[in-house]
């Protein structure tokens, strides 16, 4: 049962990764966009280094989330071409594996983008983040997981309605405020040199959000996909 689900999920993820390896559309766009966002922030805030340092955690997460939003939107819109969506629905087995497969792909692409954003961020804004990387990576992963858990579901939904590019962020951001808040606060504390113990409350909130939406989202996913 579980082995079957894992196998199907893996097939789904592998399909997305293969498409990405051949077309190199999504990750390329995400990486370039992320770099641009970091540049634009600099123009918006001016060269004052102290001020930049104060708002750094928020900037970092805005870069993560805007970039992630780009990738999420593509994940189901790409399936609209050549009736790929109908083919997806025809695949035998539970719809849950489609959700988990898409989710794994989305998390993977977002993590790749973050792996570029984080060092670039440290270099451009002259922050000493190198020793803090493990704890930052943990927070980034938990935040990304929660954001994508809701985002994958909503991306599937908004792929089928009018004004879809606008509707995904409109629906996703209010629902994921807890993730954004917890991730930014935890990142702030880590950048200030506090240990993971200091931010345990926010980490618990992140884990709680991830668990709840990793359970609820696949349950309602089949209602989104119905034709």
């Amino acid at each position: 049962m579980v082995a079957e689900l894992l196998r199907r999920t893996w097939a789904m993820t592998w399909k997305d990764v293969t498409v990405e390896l051949r077309a190199r559309e999504r990750v390329t766009a995400m990486l370039f966009f992320a770099a641009l966002v970091l540049f634009i922030f600099n123009f918006a805030l001016g060269p004052d280094r102290e001020k930049l340092r104060e708002v750094a955690p928020g900037l970092l997460w805005l870069a993560f989330l805007f970039t992630g939003m780009l990738g999420l939107g593509r994940s189901f819109q790409a399936e609209r071409e050549n009736e790929c969506f109908e083919a997806l629905l025809l695949t035998p087995g539970d719809r849950e594996s489609i959700y988990y497969g898409k989710l794994a792909g989305n998390v993977l692409f977002m993590v790749i983008a973050e792996a570029l954003i984080l060092p670039l961020f440290g270099i451009l804004y002259n922050l000493d983040i190198w020793g803090l990387l493990p704890s930052l990576a943990l927070v980034a992963f938990l935040g990304t997981l929660g954001f994508s858990a809701v985002g994958t579901l909503l991306a599937a939904m908004t792929a089928h309605i009018r004004a879809r590019e606008v509707m995904l962020p409109l629906l996703l951001f209010p629902l994921t405020v807890p993730v954004i808040l917890a991730s930014v606060r935890a990142t702030e504390a880590i950048l200030l040199g506090e240990g993971l113990g200091e931010v345990s409350q926010w980490l618990k909130l992140l884990v709680g959000f991830d668990v709840i939406f990793l359970v609820v989202s696949p349950l309602v996913f089949e209602f989104v996909l119905e034709e």
Binding site: V150, H160, I161, M167, L170, P174, L175, V220, F223
Partner: protein, 230 residues
């Protein structure tokens, strides 16, 4: 068809009468608050609106779960209508809160925990209504709406905790807490009365809105039939 039934007219009339009495009681008859003065009277509109709004959202949540289970479009009409009314009352809540906040706190808006959560819920349900408007067919809109409402409740609860921690970690309660320490009976009774009046108004809106949805549904069906014959 277009005219309201006797019961519906009675229902609407009762809501209007109750609200008129309640607002007269709260806005004119009751003495003004000793500390806040006349501006405190806005509470008689603000608190009933917010309790009605959250009830409406709860109704939407329950009806959405029921819809996903039973697949009856009539149940979905209840969810949709209730969400619409909820958004209106959340809007009234935010507006009256801001009007009260300006003379009391000195600002229209502050990132207080309750304000922030209410604003987040408002944006969530505006999104809900937009999805329903943008869906390509009513059945799909009903499913998407129900899914959003199901996601909404855990999200609201988590938002509540997140925002509460965020504010309490950074800003110990320096603001006047809405509602005050304890409420005197002279204030409590008109408040309770207004809440009841608002709930009657809500039930009236809900019934009429559901009826409207049914008429619209029937009109679409008969158009479809005529189209087939012609």
């Amino acid at each position: 068809m277009a005219r309201l039934s006797f019961a519906a007219r009675l229902h609407g009339g009762a809501a209007a009468l109750l609200l008129a009495v309640g607002l007269y009681w709260g806005l004119l008859a009751v003495p003004a608050d000793a500390f806040q003065g006349e501006v405190q009277r806005i509470m008689y509109l603000h608190v009933p609106s917010v309790s009605t709004a959250y009830l409406a959202i709860l109704v939407t949540f329950c009806a959405s779960i029921l819809y996903l289970w039973k697949r009856d479009l009539r149940i979905d009409a209840v969810a949709h209508s209730s969400a619409e009314i909820g958004v209106v009352f959340l809007g009234i809540t935010l507006a009256t809160g801001a009007i009260w906040g300006k003379p009391t706190w000195g600002v229209w808006w502050t990132w207080d925990a309750r304000l922030t959560v209410t604003a987040i819920v408002f944006t969530m349900y505006v999104g809900y209504l937009m999805v329903r408007a943008f869906a390509e067919e009513p059945q799909a809109g009903a499913r998407y709406g129900a899914v959003l409402a199901v996601l909404g409740l855990p999200a609201i609860i988590l938002n509540h905790f997140a925002v509460q921690w965020w504010r309490t970690l950074h800003q110990p309660s320096s603001l006047i807490r809405p509602g005050g320490p304890s409420v005197a009976p002279v204030i409590l009774w008109p408040l309770v009365f207004n809440i009841v009046a608002m709930l009657v108004l809500y039930s009236y809106f809900l019934l009429e809105r559901v009826r409207l949805e049914r008429i619209r549904h029937r009109a679409a069906e008969s158009r479809l039939k005529r189209g087939r014959r012609g």
